[in-house]
């Protein structure tokens, strides 16, 4: 079979914040860079980030990166790697300034500096008073950042392959990654992109759950590509449920609402967070608030006719603040919940939001295969950044405002690392037909005709299983059943058939490929979760209620081959400062 081929210095798969910030570095260095995205770049899910990006600019209150680092380590429930966290919190400051210079329309303070708001889990002076560290463009910060990065890439003449789907990585016998097979969605034709380096920046996988704040496109394509190329996924049991999704719908109401002074109440009108987090209250870490809401509802203090949600009260902030700082969530609440938050409270319930785990990388963006002795083997030619990667800076629970930060800092770092690498490696490695065959077979599998299960049917079944068996509270019984059910779903995948075999813009074919990705990832989540016998961050087990630092202060590493789990130690040594040793985590 003759495949259309293109050659580039660098290939980037995914055009959200991480991919575009990496692309910008590369294009500005005059390298030949191709960005492949299954949607037009400004449709990437970074666009939906609301609240903001953390950086210790100290524009509102005194602040420094070391305090930010402490909050992030504590927020991670001590599972984050402290070298990477130090790097991120230091880099946050120049990264945000660079974004501003690139044109991001940040909201402003009276003195003309970037507006910063309070967010959950933030403190001054290592656990002291509330900090205001989240740089915001109203409540549309992700939109403002994504559009700006795309705009600057236009200026830098980055080469985009819009609406191309990444099918699989091309890996040679030495384990090096030589590029990827892609599918042009418009024509249905495959295109092989050869590249000296490949960066996975494909974002999250929230679509594994039925109720999620994530977009239709968040199907974890890059993570699944990595798995199939023999790369493990790390810490996949840690999935963040954002406390305030619109009840029954899942759309996000930013933590910025509580940062601006909004608070949660149960059916008795009680500010229940005072019981769960006496100091931080509504601005405790997300895992803490999500569990509190689920507990309130479980114990019969939920609101509404079905007592299935709590209320987020905002009206006391007044029309002005709401119009100026929270215009987007006002619009969303009106459209999707039918309430104007300036008048009535918003019905909310936790929604699947963010995967802390992902493709293991070092802080320079290299994809690494960790082993249990703590050593790491770099996968030649492969990089990852953003939500699909796990550096790990979020550990067991990510702080609000650290996600935009992660994608920008590590997207940029990966871009710069690739520039350095390309200086020393001017040649493409040879690519044989045999190694392309495996990727091609992933496409031809869907050409099988005949009767079978539909993609939609299995997708619905799978997402329900994940919601029922990998949610906020997890027991051995629930999880074991979940593993069996996901295995059964994986078996059924063989019997799924595509009825529509046409070529042009066949979204059914794309959804079939996405379903394979989702199921591969779902397995990594349920298996890693079943095995972790402790409660840490977002992973909460009623049968093992305590954090167990003796046995479980370590990263889970899931390999697809044989559904094997391994573990690697947490890096507790920062780059320059002292270690933050594990402490009980109270807010």
């Amino acid at each position: 079979m003759t495949l259309a081929r293109r050659r580039f210095d660098a290939l980037i798969i995914g055009a959200g914040g991480a991919g575009l910030n990496a692309a910008l570095q590369l294009a500005n260095a005059n390298l030949r860079v191709a960005v492949v995205s299954k949607v037009f770049p400004t449709r990437s899910h970074t666009v939906a980030a609301q609240g903001g990006v953390n950086a210790a600019l100290a524009n509102v209150f005194e602040d420094n990166w070391h305090w930010h680092m402490f909050d992030t380590v504590k927020g991670s429930d001590y599972l984050g790697d402290q070298d990477a966290i130090e790097f991120m919190c230091r880099e946050a400051i120049p990264t945000v300034y660079e974004l501003e210079h690139n044109g991001v329309p940040f909201s402003r303070l009276d003195n003309g500096r970037i507006y910063q708001r309070a967010f959950g889990g933030q403190s001054q002076n290592f656990g002291g008073a509330q900090a205001a560290r989240t740089c915001a463009a109203a409540d549309r910060t992700g939109h403002a950042i994504l559009h700006t990065l795309y705009q600057q890439n236009i200026r830098a003449r980055t080469h985009f392959f819009d609406e191309y789907f990444g099918v699989d990585l091309i890996r040679d016998d030495d384990g090096a990654i030589l590029g990827a097979l892609t599918l042009e969605i418009e024509t249905g034709e495959p295109l092989l992109i050869e590249a000296k380096t490949t960066l996975l920046a494909t974002g999250g996988c929230g679509q594994v759950f039925r109720t999620t704040s994530n977009a239709h496109i968040n199907t974890g394509d890059g993570m699944a590509m990595a798995l199939r190329a023999g790369v493990p996924l790390m810490d996949m049991e840690f999935f963040q449920f954002h406390p305030t999704g619109i009840s029954g719908r899942g759309m996000l109401i930013t933590e910025g609402v509580r940062g601006e002074g909004g608070y949660l109440v149960n059916k008795d009108g009680e500010r229940f967070m005072e019981r769960y987090a006496p100091n931080a209250k509504d601005l405790a870490s997300r895992d803490v608030v999500a569990r509190a809401i689920v507990t309130e509802v479980k114990e019969g203090r939920g609101c509404g006719p079905n007592a299935d949600h709590v209320l987020l009260k905002v009206d006391h902030l007044g029309e002005d603040i709401i119009a100026k700082r929270l215009p987007g969530i006002r619009e969303s609440s009106q459209i999707f919940a039918g309430v104007d938050p300036a008048v009535e409270p918003i019905p909310v319930f936790p929604t699947a939001h963010y995967v802390m785990g992902g493709i293991p990388t070092d802080r320079l963006g290299h994809v690494v295969i960790p082993s249990s002795d703590g050593s790491e083997e770099i996968v030649p030619g492969l990089y990852a950044a953003g939500e699909c990667a796990c550096v790990s800076v979020h550990g067991a629970n990510r702080l609000g405002g650290n996600s935009l930060l992660d994608i920008l800092v590590f997207g940029r770092a990966a871009g710069q690392q690739i520039i350095d690498h390309l200086k020393d490696s001017p040649e493409h490695r040879p690519m044989s037909d045999a190694i392309i065959e495996k990727a091609v077979s992933r496409l031809s599998r869907w050409e099988q005709e005949g009767e079978g299960i539909s993609v939609r049917e299995l997708r619905d079944e799978f997402r329900k299983v994940m919601e029922d068996h990998a949610g906020v509270f997890r027991t051995d019984e629930i999880m074991s059943e979940g593993v069996e059910k996901v295995k059964a779903v994986r078996e059924k995948l063989k019997d799924v058939r595509l009825g529509d075999q046409s070529k042009v813009f066949n979204t059914a074919r794309i959804e079939a490929l996405e379903l394979e990705n989702l199921i591969d990832i779902g397995m990594s989540i349920v298996l890693s979760a079943l095995e972790r016998k402790e409660s840490r961050g977002a992973h909460s087990r009623p049968d093992y209620t305590e954090r167990d630092d003796v046995n479980w202060l370590k990263h889970s590493v899931y390999f697809q081959e044989g559904d094997r789990l391994d573990y690697k130690p947490v890096q507790t040594k920062p780059l320059t400062v002292e270690t933050f040793p594990p402490k009980p985590r109270v807010y």
Binding site: F40, R43, V47, G103, R108, Q151, R249, F505
Partner: protein, 230 residues
Amino acid sequence: MKFFVYRYNPDVDTAPHMQEYDVEVTRGMMLRDALMEIKRQDESFAFRHSCGEGVCGSDAVNANGKNMLGCTTPVVELKEPVNVRPLPGRPVIRDLVVDMSQFYQQYRAVKPYLIHKDPLPEQEILQSPEDRDKLDGLYECIMCGCCSTSCPSFWWNPDKFHGPQALLQAWRFLADSRDQATEERLDDLEGPYKLFRCHTIMNCVESCPKSLNPTKAIGKIKELMLKHSI
């Protein structure tokens, strides 16, 4: 609820046709939910969509003659039967999926990026809240294309007239106190087509799902041009 949906698959159809579907309406159902339900019934139906909350701009369609976002339009607000068609004036790739390349080219043509020529400060470039307020109503554009594809001037000259979306963005940078390329931006907009094909029909304002006002922005550009030419 009855839907008539524009169907055309170049692989199998010689001509487009409207196909009828019945969708059971659920509480809070948006047009996008209805289209997803139609795809459930018929996997060969193609349309773009992603975020489901009106920020990614993927799922602009024409329903009952008006351009709108599927994900923020409650079906109960639409008159039955609902006629759903691709955005007008763009070549159809398949079903509701249209070719937006000319729309994106027009966007690129206005240099939609901040140009700051002075040496950069170590920290942020300062901007007063009042100056920042001038960007409200401009930067929120989601590039869904509802405006430009409802504009008769854009239908007529999509290759020469920038269209309301691109011009709104042109003004977004002209209005930014940090931008230092006013002269070249205004020079680039000279001529009978790029800017001046706007005849203030205002379909763009009516169709914008984010309540932005491209016509007003175009007026501001013209005002600024006048000021600069004196």
